[in-house]
């Protein structure tokens, strides 16, 4: 026969002070873990959201990112007429030649960051269909105009609608604000591709092209055709794959956060066991009585495990609430958080603890509870009734 859950609950209440102490330790671990997970998954999300499975990224063979690649006008003109590229209503191919440059931008507080500036043609909005101009309008070619991402807005001097922003050799008028549902395009500034090539004095006008394929089978076919074309030494890859590789830059941070979570979790587990061992010790007589009454070892074991799990659940609930609150507060205090990537670009993310981050923290909290409670529960179950009663 199992012990009723109300027994466990009453026990927690009977030692309210200690229970709260243990639960708060677990809560703190939950807060730490979910904040860090939230930050990194926000970074990762910007990359994952950027890729479109129907888009191909074409770069020079051997380049691992936009910024390092070069592509000639001839190559662009050749690819433009390949079969299998999707077309818009006016029968123009959805292919966007782009130039990526990372100039310095002055931040509001006087620092400087490398920001990804993407030179585009108007067709870019059709190829990157997750990108929307939510305020203002799209830039006009040859007018020294710029459209800035939502995350860039307000972070750098002059990055506001209607203002002028200085980078490269000159000043650019901000005419629109771009949103992309959290994708990394929101950390970018878009300008006219020819003006950018001119400004950066690039010998090649493009760093790569992005194109939309008509059907999924065209994807592999076009990829093979571009990879095998001996004239230009180019390489095509699905956009999702390209951004998945970029997201690997967050790999070290994941290792770091996992290590922190594990260490903090073991520490909290020790604390939880300590409290539980004390509880078992203090309740020796009670456990002896229960055993004498006929409750099985398994019943005792599961009652104590239930207590530990209940403690960690309470800890998780407190911690999750605190984490969400704290992340809001930090977000409000610090604004956006910048990550410099190895490719000389800055990704700006906002701290946001999502449900999946909390799920990770919940797993950790339960693990702490189950492992931390196992030792004490085992000891309680193994108590011999006669000795336990005698001690009392």
């Amino acid at each position: 026969m199992a012990l009723p859950l109300s027994y466990t609950w009453r026990n927690l209440q009977a030692r309210a002070g200690r229970s709260i102490m243990t639960a708060s330790v677990i809560a703190l671990v939950v807060v730490a873990c979910s904040l860090l997970l939230g930050l990194i998954s926000a970074l990762q999300r910007t990359f994952v959201l950027s890729g479109n499975p129907m888009n191909l990224v074409v770069m020079r063979k051997g380049s691992d990112n936009d910024g390092a690649s070069q592509l000639s006008v001839q190559a662009y003109q050749a690819i433009r007429f390949f079969d299998g590229i999707a077309r818009d209503a006016a029968d123009r191919p959805l292919i966007s030649p782009e130039l990526v440059v990372q100039p310095f931008f002055r931040t509001r507080d006087g620092g400087r960051e490398n920001v990804l500036v993407r030179g585009v043609e108007p067709v870019a909005l059709a190829v990157h269909d997750q990108v929307r101009i939510t305020q203002g309008r799209m830039l006009r070619p040859s007018a020294h105009e710029a459209v800035v991402g939502r995350a860039v807005l307000g972070r750098y001097a002059g990055a506001e609608l209607g203002n002028e922003i200085a980078f490269g050799q000159g000043k650019w008028k901000v005419v629109g604000i771009l949103e992309a549902g959290g994708a990394s395009f929101e950390s970018e500034v878009w300008v006219d591709v020819r003006e950018l090539a001119n400004d950066a004095k690039r010998p090649f006008p493009y760093s790569g092209v992005r194109l939309r394929v008509a059907t999924p089978t065209d994807l592999t076919r076009l990829k093979r055709r571009i990879d095998d074309d001996p004239r230009y030494a180019l390489e095509a890859q699905p956009e999702t794959e390209y951004y998945a590789k970029q997201a690997k830059s967050a790999g070290s941070l994941y290792v770091l956060v996992a290590a922190i979570a594990v260490l903090a979790g073991i520490g909290a587990g020790f604390g939880a066991s300590n409290t539980m061992y004390a509880a078992v010790q203090a309740r020796t007589a009670e456990i002896g009585t229960l055993r004498a009454l006929g409750f099985s070892r398994r019943a005792i074991l599961s009652a104590f495990e239930a207590e530990a799990v209940a403690l960690s659940t309470v800890g998780f609930i407190i911690g999750a609430g605190a984490a969400v609150g704290l992340s809001r507060l930090l977000d409000w205090l610090m604004g956006s958080i910048a990550f410099g990537a190895a490719t000389f670009t800055t990704n700006v993310v906002r701290l946001n603890v999502s449900l999946s981050d909390l799920l990770g923290a919940l797993l950790l909290a339960l693990l702490i509870g189950i492992c931390g409670g196992l030792g004490p529960a085992w000891r309680a179950a193994r108590l011999r009734p006669i000795e336990a009663l005698r001690k009392a």
């Binding site: 200690r18 860090l36 604390g271 410099g340």
Partner: protein
């Protein structure tokens, strides 16, 4: 001293609890040390890598913008400049890795040694670097990582220039942490011309060594003045400012890390305070008896406090050692996996060791003081009353 055995006996009476408490404190100290190492590591990297006489000259618009290769000759003529070298990002990926895993630059072989006298490159190796067109000088960190030795031949595939180049390693930068790979810029120039291109013609960054640290500021002003109104206006900055700017954009992440560190430290205090108060409460009767047979209040307070503090300090020391061991291990295994790579650069520094130990002392005192004070203050009669 004569009460030492009492303290030890008390710690040993519930060994499991002492071990668990010590374990929790140890892990927390490990965490705090590792987290503190993060910003301290960045600071140390910047500090170690910089000299107070070196100046970085780059295009005002950004480091991905270039300057004409000829500009370095003008820079060399500036009063107070002891040496200047033009360097260009090669972006070479070592074939086995397939990605750019270490910074590699094409440099002017005649000038590089004079700009970096502190890198302790042997004169005969520099002479070889000048003699062999395909020579390369490589930092120890990279030599160790790929098990290269002087005389080896390696191929780098550029992700920026349309060339693959074969190199022979002719020398090394003696610093164990140096990640650089230098090649001859004429070798790159000729390879580009052989492809039918226009050759190098540009430079990404000029490094200048000032003869005298006090003249650094005036040299920076003069160089920026020289390029004013030209096609490529420059911005000079000291080497230290250049490297701190490179890491500057991780600032937000580090701030959050530090907040987390504070949370974890709070966590330790909770655990230790919890346990200490448990230990004292359980011994209420015993303490009352001690007092009844004439032990001084202060002695009781001191022994109880010592008990918590000793446990905490012992655990803290173990934690610091463990943190050092972890960073050592990361360093050793950093070559194994991409994700571990950058973490290998961090080492627990002396100030961090000190902070970790200080934290453990603080935790011991904070956690011990309240229950110890309460136990010492509690009237004997009251406690004994409760017990009997």
């Amino acid at each position: 001293m004569k009460y030492l055995s009492l303290v030890i006996a008390n710690l040993r009476r519930n060994r499991l609890r002492s071990v668990l408490t010590a374990g929790a404190i140890m892990l927390a100290v490990v965490l705090v040390c590792l987290l503190l190492t993060l910003p301290a590591g960045l600071d140390a990297i910047v500090e170690n890598a910089s000299s107070n006489t070196r100046i970085s000259v780059h295009n005002k618009a950004g480091i991905v913008y270039s300057m004409p290769a000829s500009f370095v000759r003008k820079v060399r003529q500036v009063d107070g400049v002891a040496a200047a070298v033009a360097t260009t990002w090669f972006g070479g990926a070592y074939e086995e890795a397939g990605r750019v895993t270490f910074p590699n630059f094409a440099v002017e072989v005649e000038h590089i040694g004079a700009v970096y006298p502190d890198y302790a490159i042997k004169p005969e190796q520099l002479a070889d670097f000048r003699r062999y067109r395909d020579g390369a000088i490589v930092g120890r960190q990279i030599m160790r990582k790929y098990r290269w030795k002087i005389g080896d031949r390696v191929t780098l595939r550029s992700t920026v220039w349309p060339v693959d180049l074969d190199f022979r390693i002719v020398g090394e930068i003696a610093d164990e942490d140096s990640p650089y790979f230098w090649m001859n810029n004429e070798y790159l120039d000729q390879a580009l011309k052989a492809q039918g291109g226009a050759g190098l013609g540009i430079t990404g960054m000029i490094w200048v060594r000032a003869g005298d640290p006090s003249r650094v500021n005036s040299i920076m002003r003069t160089i920026d003045e020289l390029s004013r109104n030209s096609e490529a206006e420059t911005a000079c900055e000291t080497e230290k400012s250049f490297f701190s700017n490179m890491f500057g954009s991780l600032q937000g992440f580090i701030t959050i890390m530090i907040i987390v560190t504070a949370l974890v430290a709070l966590c330790i205090v909770f655990i230790a305070a919890n346990t200490a108060s448990m230990a004292v409460r359980e011994r209420a009767c015993e303490i009352a008896v001690l007092k009844a047979i004439g032990f001084d209040r202060r002695v009781i307070f001191a022994t109880l406090l010592t008990e918590t503090a000793a446990l905490s300090i012992a655990a803290g020391s173990a934690g610091v050692l463990l943190a050092v061991a972890i960073t050592r291990a990361l360093r050793m295994f950093s070559g194994w996996s991409e994700a571990l790579g950058p973490l290998g650069a961090f080492a627990v520094s002396a100030p961090v060791v000190f902070q970790g130990l200080a934290l453990s002392v603080l935790v011991g005192l904070l956690a011990g003081i309240v229950p110890a004070y309460a136990a010492a203050r509690r009237p004997v009669v009251e406690t004994l009353h409760e017990v009997f």
